[in-house]
Amino acid sequence: MQDVTTGNKEFKPNIVAFCCNWCSYAGADLAGSSRLTYPANVKIIRVPCSCRVNPMFVLKAFQQGADGVILCGCHPGDCHYVTGNYYTRRRMALLFSFLNYMGIEKERTRVEWVSAAEGAKFSAVMNDFVKTVTELGENKRLTDLRVKEGK
């Protein structure tokens, strides 16, 4: 891990992005084929639908040292599975509000709707999210020291 405080090297946040297979993953593909760049520290996990993302996965990511977690899904109403992202929306609204209630910085979590046609949006969202989290700094509040000390 980079030590942010020493400033030896620029802090590069570790971002986990969960993307639904039908819209957002395809949107990310389109960003790729359109050569719309975003930082390499965004790593995408493909899930069938945003509603597959269990809060446990989000917490797991933070535990393992992610600095930001973003979920991307089809726009509400356009879910490939009809209603999946409606549930995602409720679950994540409540979860993220709750995490913030426990003092976890609200900027570390985000949900964005990105359609298969929105390669540009995907790239813009990722750039913005990386920027926000970079400004926020390392995730220290919701992380497992045992994991990091391993290094």
Binding site: L59, Q63, P76, G77, Y86, R89, R90, A93, M102, R141
Partner: protein
Amino acid sequence: MRDVEQKMIERAAALLQNGEVARVVGWKKGEFYFDPAPAVFETVDELKDFVYNGFCGANLSKYLIKVSKNEGKTAIFMKPCDSYSFNQLVKEHRVDREKIYVIAVECQGKLDIEKIKANGVTAVTNVEENGDKVTVSSLYGETVLDKADVMLGKCLTCKGKTHQAKDEDIILHEMPAPANNRFDEVAKLEAMTEDERFAFWKEQLQKCIRCNACRNVCPACSCLKCVFDNPSSGVAAKANDDRFEEQLFHVIRAFHVSGRCTDCGECSRVCPQNIPLHLLNRKFIKDIDGFYGEYQAGETAEGKTPLTSYKEEDLEVSDVFKGEGK
């Protein structure tokens, strides 16, 4: 309260005697006035130990999951708040309503022996309830306390005195409902800065010894195997080896019961370290009310929960923190 207890014993005896029910779930005398324990009574004879007093705070509804599997009908004494949990259990098919006979009983708010002791009274040998006052006898003398000061936390923010399910009731006195807004404490935390909230929960959760009392007492935690006990879940743990695990356990537990938690307050009551766990669940309830319209779990035994339903015009996740100004 003695008259209520007397009536309860009479009804229990009658129901057992005429074979309407095979057992009665209630509370049993302990070593003191203030330590009755939940119990199942199967014979009239056993009812000699039956007790109902200000220390019967325990929510009995969860016991029905196990007890109602037995042959025959089960009668249960239920306080207003317990009836919400009961409905939720019926809704989730954990308890067969047909096999339960609900006797709604009066509740004037329950007492907390730890709060009594926190008033400097120790070596308590007896407690007497007299209306608004509580007289505590101890080896070191006698003390009179205001009942309002020594009530269980959950009773101070009582949801109301209406039973949500009943087959009959034993209500002999009026039950005044308290005026507290149960979301005040949550709002107070919300008004803090992120840093303050973090510090608050860090200190509170650091006390957690992972005894699982909150989970095991929770009527909404009725999984056959909890994810935290399941080695293949990826989050199983027996203790909090790192601060993260304190957070993980309580976040996931609160999420899992969100939309299902009736705010019965048992989690906070049983916590040996007095962590205000209800404030976690209550945040979800407050948010659900705020985001999706008021919802009280356990008000009915039917319908979908807020997390298993949706509206097309639901609040966007990005709007959750809008207008917060922090």
